[in-house]
């Protein structure tokens, strides 16, 4: 059973098992590539080249097809992310409410360019997102799935500081 095939050789045994489990879950659903990729990303944090080619082989698609889908949707990440994911909302209400000030404040505090990115120590990834749909609390940002609303530059910075404290940074 445990013959290691050439595809997915960069994946560890446990990573491969995780993907297999997801593939099995959707094996009977037609056109389930997107949920498979979503599941794999949720398990592995991001979609590595090895993961994509393993999924391609296992679903009988070409790597280019899978890569095409993975790069079409914003949800998919082909690079690893930091321990904490900070998503700054840039919906219309947040834009007119000063989302750019939040970018400047958070990124400035973490020493990142205003477009975001991942900090050198791998602790934080900051990205801009389009509308999380909580417009009445604009401007808003989401840290590790938890929304922080009615921000200004100072409040946003303080939110990040709290996460840094918890980490003992």
């Amino acid at each position: 059973m445990a013959t290691v095939t050439k595809v997915g050789k960069g994946l560890t045994e446990s990573e491969r098992k995780k993907i297999d489990k997801i593939l099995k879950k959707y094996s009977k659903q037609k056109g389930a590539l997107i949920p498979v990729l979503q599941g794999a990303q949720a398990e592995l944090g991001y979609l590595s080249e090895e993961a994509l080619s393993y999924i391609a082989k296992s679903t009988g698609r070409t790597l280019s097809q899978v890569y095409g889908v993975a790069t079409f949707y914003k949800q998919f990440r082909l690079q690893p992310i930091g321990k904490h994911l900070v998503r700054i909302c840039h919906g219309t209400a947040c834009h007119v409410g000063g989302a750019e000030d939040i970018d400047a404040s958070v990124c400035g505090h973490l020493g990142l360019p205003v477009d975001g990115g991942t900090t050198g120590d791998g602790e934080f990834t900051v990205e801009k997102v389009v509308c999380v749909g909580a417009c009445s609390l604009a401007p808003i940002m989401i840290v590790d799935g938890i929304a922080h609303g009615r921000l200004d530059s100072e409040k946003a910075r303080n939110v990040i500081k709290k996460y840094q404290k918890k980490q003992g940074i």
Binding site: Q29, G31, Q38, V69, Q75, G91, C131, G133, C135, A138
Partner: protein
């Protein structure tokens, strides 16, 4: 058993983002600590988003009271005053049942059909939904012939609430006539317009209303399988949808032989992966099939060839929530609301610089003025209304001279804006209209799937022009260039994304040409928003010399003696606006 006293907390995404979980935990602690016999419940969006966190308290002998802006530190006082002493905590009151309060007209001015249960029921309880007449529509529908249901929906005058406004009954008719071994029904919950959260609120607050409408629709067209395509960015909506589907199955409203009839239907939830274009029907179908979500030419229309080439009917969340009400209450009653061409109500998300931002459902034909100044309570911080943006990136910006426009599909389209899905962003005189047009173009340019060249490249060129105008590098011919490009993009694009992407630019050019001119010819931004075109100064008359600005200036560009007017060194200033925000005397101004 006597009715227990009850505390209900609004825990939709907005409530949670405002700190609702901490408030709930504190309420639980406090009630436990005082050993009170009080039920604690959760509900969806109450609509008063501007006053989150919302807590409703029902105590015997007192009217039901809704408290607003509740923080965890307010909780002990609230519990003590209301639940122990039996008095109303006046300074946190938002609403008192049966009484007028300063904020009660926010609800009184609305007509709630779609939001009939939102903020009233526990969205995770099917019994709550049934107690308010839920699934009565489905029971009635199953006793009708499919064509009778289609006729009823057609007669109600319901038009698609996703934005385009196509008559729902007609759409169902097309799909039911189409030939196919299988048929699909899809609920489009890929609410992608920035500034819109109606669908999220309905799914979080009353998921069964949508599911019931969908089952009725499926039966009316003969669909065998249903999909709900919902944004992955809405985790709470997804969770509540899944719970509701399971509950509906347990009760026999969904699955095999619905309510003992010969009709069966399964509904599968599909999570979108973040692509705005997937709100477009054919792109959504491609995405459900597991492909890149790129639009396909129409015809063939989805009604004939949709998912896997089978007849497919797609309606929006709000449309389905209307259907369940229409079948229960009748087409005639529905058609008694609204205007000649637009029946019923529309849910809007009031956001931006409006005082009472939140969820507002009004009768079609209500004027923009009533929505913004009546329901919305006017502009925040006493500033001046400048424009209202409807329809998100596909819509337009309307100025104050058009505030008496009735809100219906045809009136808004005639002005170059669109009804859209229901986002209504209100801006005041601090927002630059050229910058706002640039914002929307940045969005559509990024979201263009790239299939049609006019959309892919045209939006890019338009964005470049807008960017340079905002930087003070605009050329006199730029306004005409924008108008010409806009027409090319509109005409040369396959789907509605490209077809409507230029609308924000065209409407701002039409109604706010002055601002474009000021940027291009005078190199000035009248709103003081375009950083490259403004400089910061201190008014010596207003400056008290408190030094707050100088201490917080990251560039050390502000100097002055204590208690004497300070000065900003324009050359050293990095235009971060920190001084403008910090000054308590309004002494910092832009030129």
């Amino acid at each position: 058993m006597a009715e227990r006293d009850k505390v209900t907390i609004g825990l939709a995404t907005c409530g949670i983002a405002a700190g609702g979980i901490a408030v709930r935990d504190e309420i639980e602690n406090e009630i436990r600590r005082r050993k009170l016999d009080v039920a604690i419940a959760e509900t969806g969006c109450i609509g008063y988003c501007f006053a989150e966190v919302l807590v409703e308290v029902e105590k015997k002998g007192l009217p039901k009271v809704t408290y607003g802006n509740v923080t965890p530190s307010d909780v002990p006082d609230l519990i003590e005053t209301h639940l122990v002493q039996g008095r109303i905590l006046q300074n946190k009151v938002l609403l008192i049942e049966g009484k007028k309060t300063p904020e009660s007209d926010f609800l009184e001015r609305q007509t709630r059909i779609v939001l009939r249960n939102c903020g009233i029921i526990n969205p995770e309880s099917i019994d709550d939904y049934i107690a308010r007449g839920g699934y009565e529509g489905l029971k009635k529908a199953l006793k009708m012939k499919p064509e009778e249901i289609r006729k009823e929906v057609l007669e109600s005058g319901l038009r698609g609430r996703g934005g385009a406004g196509f008559p729902t009954g007609q759409k169902w008719e097309f799909c039911s006539r189409a030939e196919g071994k299988e048929k699909y029904i899809v609920c489009n919950a890929d609410e992608g317009d920035p500034g819109a959260f109606m669908d999220r609120s309905v799914l979080e607050g009353d998921p069964h209303a949508v599911i019931e409408g969908m089952i009725i629709g499926a039966y009316a067209i003969g669909a065998t399988c249903g999909y709900i395509y919902c944004r992955a960015e809405y985790p709470l909506a997804l969770r509540r949808l899944r719970i509701a589907i399971e509950q509906a199955k347990e009760r026999g409203f969904l699955g095999k032989n619905i309510l003992g009839s010969s009709y069966s239907l399964d509904i599968i939830v599909k999570e979108g992966a973040g692509a705005f274009v997937c709100g477009e029907e054919t792109a959504l179908i491609a995405s459900i099939e597991g492909e890149r979500g790129m639009p396909r030419p129409r015809p063939p229309f989805p009604a004939n060839k949709g998912i896997w080439g089978m007849p497919t009917n797609i309606n929006n969340v709000e449309t389905f929530a209307n259907v369940s009400w229409i079948i229960r209450e009748g087409a005639k009653k529905f058609a008694s609301f609204g205007t000649e061409g637009s029946k019923g109500t529309k849910v809007f998300c009031l956001t931006g610089k409006v005082r009472r931002g939140g969820l507002a459902e009004v009768e079609m034909g209500t004027t923009l003025r009533e929505v913004i100044f009546g329901v919305g309570g006017g502009i925040k911080e006493g500033r001046n209304f400048k424009a209202v943006q409807t329809g998100g990136p596909s819509g337009g910006c309307l100025p104050s001279s058009l505030l008496d426009t009735p809100v219906d599909y045809d009136s808004l389209t005639a002005l170059g804006a669109i009804m859209g899905s229901g986002g209504m962003v209100i801006v005041d005189d601090t927002t630059c209209m050229v910058d706002l047009a640039k914002y929307f173009l940045t969005f559509t340019q990024m979201e263009s799937c790239g299939k049609c060249i006019p959309c892919r490249l045209g939006t890019k060129r338009m964005l470049e022009i807008l960017t340079r105008i905002c930087q003070g590098k605009g050329e006199p011919e730029d306004m005409d260039r924008l108008r010409n490009l806009a027409l090319d993009v509109k005409e040369g694009s396959l789907c509605a994304l490209g077809g409507t992407a230029p609308n924000p630019v065209l409407t701002t050019l039409r109604y706010f040409e002055d601002e474009y001119r000021a940027h291009i010819f005078e190199k000035k931004c009248p709103a003081g928003a375009c950083t490259d075109l403004v400089t910061f100064h201190i008014d010596p008359e207003k400056c008290t010399g408190c030094g707050v600005c100088a201490r917080n200036c990251p560039a050390d560009a502000i100097s002055g003696e204590k208690k004497k007017p300070h000065v900003i060194d324009v050359n050293a200033c990095i235009k971060c606006r920190e001084c403008l925000r910090r000054c308590r005397f309004g002494a910092v101004y832009t030129v």
